[in-house]
Subunit: 170 residues, 4 copies
């Protein structure tokens, strides 16, 4: 018996989804690489740099089975960044891939998915492999060339043996 | 008797002010040049281009009597861009000059100041002379060099004769 | 008798002119504001920032009597930046305003105009008033808004009394 | 017997090398991926976009066996872009990887390597696999994310069987 060398990504905790007909789970996406990007709609670095990079990633890898998933991780100004404002933001900024609202629990400003992944702030980005393990995680925006290289490596990995029934594209 | 050659700017109609201890009026600012910029917090062109230009203007003309005034002109997604969200936006984007919420009246999506000035959308910008007349008005973001030149000309104009008691800086 | 408050700009020393049918002198341009920009064709900051700014200045002030003059101030790699290479550079970068080659004298790497103005390197920029005095001088590239404001002030100054016969535009 | 599916890259034809102790050949680099970038020092698109991209590529893939090779492909203004000017250009723009001067033959403005690869102008870029075949070729500057992805794929390919003695890094 062998133990996994890298940790499985924790599961998402989302209270409301946009841009997808059905809720997503990382378990359900097993077999495909996932680019998870955490943002806040009033975070200047997210709006000026991270969101445009996500849109370039969507364009370059449109014909692959990479799944891009956004998580709206509100940890400050909670009343200012409600789902009503998020819906208009996604419309104005033309974000097409699925976005989930990170689950807020009473008693903590830090929502649940943010706690599970240990994100230090927004923007944060996680690349998850076909086998569900975390390949790379970063706070802030990284160089486009390095990001493209990492996603290509994740895409070229063989599907895991247990992924007998790969998830359908939402 | 002579008639004015250029039109006086219409008065502002504002329901709530931020970044100022007291409400502002163009009448009260007579004697100083005013740069009026109209924006919406979910307008990508405002956030990426117009707001940064306003901040460069504030920096370059900090030691002059130019008054910069923002008007949050919501004409769509009204519930998404409430004053609660605007307050957090001003904090996150570090906007320091006065900002007024354009007055919304029942029965029209277009707020009152926007109607009075005839703005076609956001961002819009108006340069008002010491005598209260509109020197220049534009929809969209113009070249920094031209903007700097126009403001310098407005600043170098002599104070109007009737401006016996110039308004104090807020 | 009164002494001038600001120094007259020193005269240009140029060995070869491009983009002008006849040599230029600052004396001959008296009565008009002059933007003098010093550059080297292999200077990365000149090519990436200063030359594009000069081209924006030319566009914004095309309908004024501002005269833009470039000085190719070679103080290193002399063999690499000959007039033959400069001619091709002006063609490729579409520089349309007059450019003079700063006069190189035996025994010094620093050409004569550079010595007279005391430039510390390239890019450098000098704004000269209608009366021939230096209004502003800077090493490096300054903010577009401030540059636009200064040129507008220089343009709005009245012509000097002695400029009875203003120079014709080349 | 099987025929190769993709063509071998033609060999370089270079009259003078910079930034390398010994001349390079693609045959000698067999076993390593090669990024070949063609430029002219007076080409605005090369200077503003392609060269900075090459430098980002060098930084991101510094710890891999990717070999970056520049070819100075002069096809116009020949006297203006001599090796003397190229040497100063490489110094000023801090290009560290090997650069060869594309061989000029009498009777043609188009140098030999440019003819062999069929480049339409500068900047052009070719990605060559470990087995010496052309993986991708483009005129102009492509998206950083796509460039990063393609290089990562080239790096992850297994070495060709015939590459028993891989070339040493210059």
């Amino acid at each position: 018996m062998t133990l996994p060398e890298t940790p499985l990504a924790p599961e998402l905790a989302v209270s409301e989804w946009f841009n997808t007909p059905a809720p997503l789970t990382l378990a359900g996406l097993r077999g495909r690489p996932v680019l998870l990007h955490s943002f806040q709609l009033l975070c200047p670095g997210c709006v000026a740099q991270a969101i445009p990079q996500v849109q370039r990633i969507e364009r370059v890898f449109a014909h692959t089975d990479l799944q891009v998933v956004g998580i709206h991780t509100v940890f400050e100004h909670h009343a200012a960044m409600s789902p009503v404002t998020l819906r208009a933001f996604l419309h104005e900024y033309k974000l097409k891939s699925p976005v989930g609202v990170d689950l807020k629990e009473d008693g903590s400003d830090i929502p649940v998915t943010m706690q599970r992944f240990g994100w230090r702030g927004t923007p944060s980005c996680v690349l998850i492999g076909r086998d569900g393990t975390i390949l790379h995680q970063a706070f802030g925006v990284e160089d486009d060339i390095a990001v493209g290289a990492r996603i290509a490596m994740a895409l070229s990995a063989p599907p895991p043996r247990s992924a007998a029934a790969p998830a359908a594209t939402p």
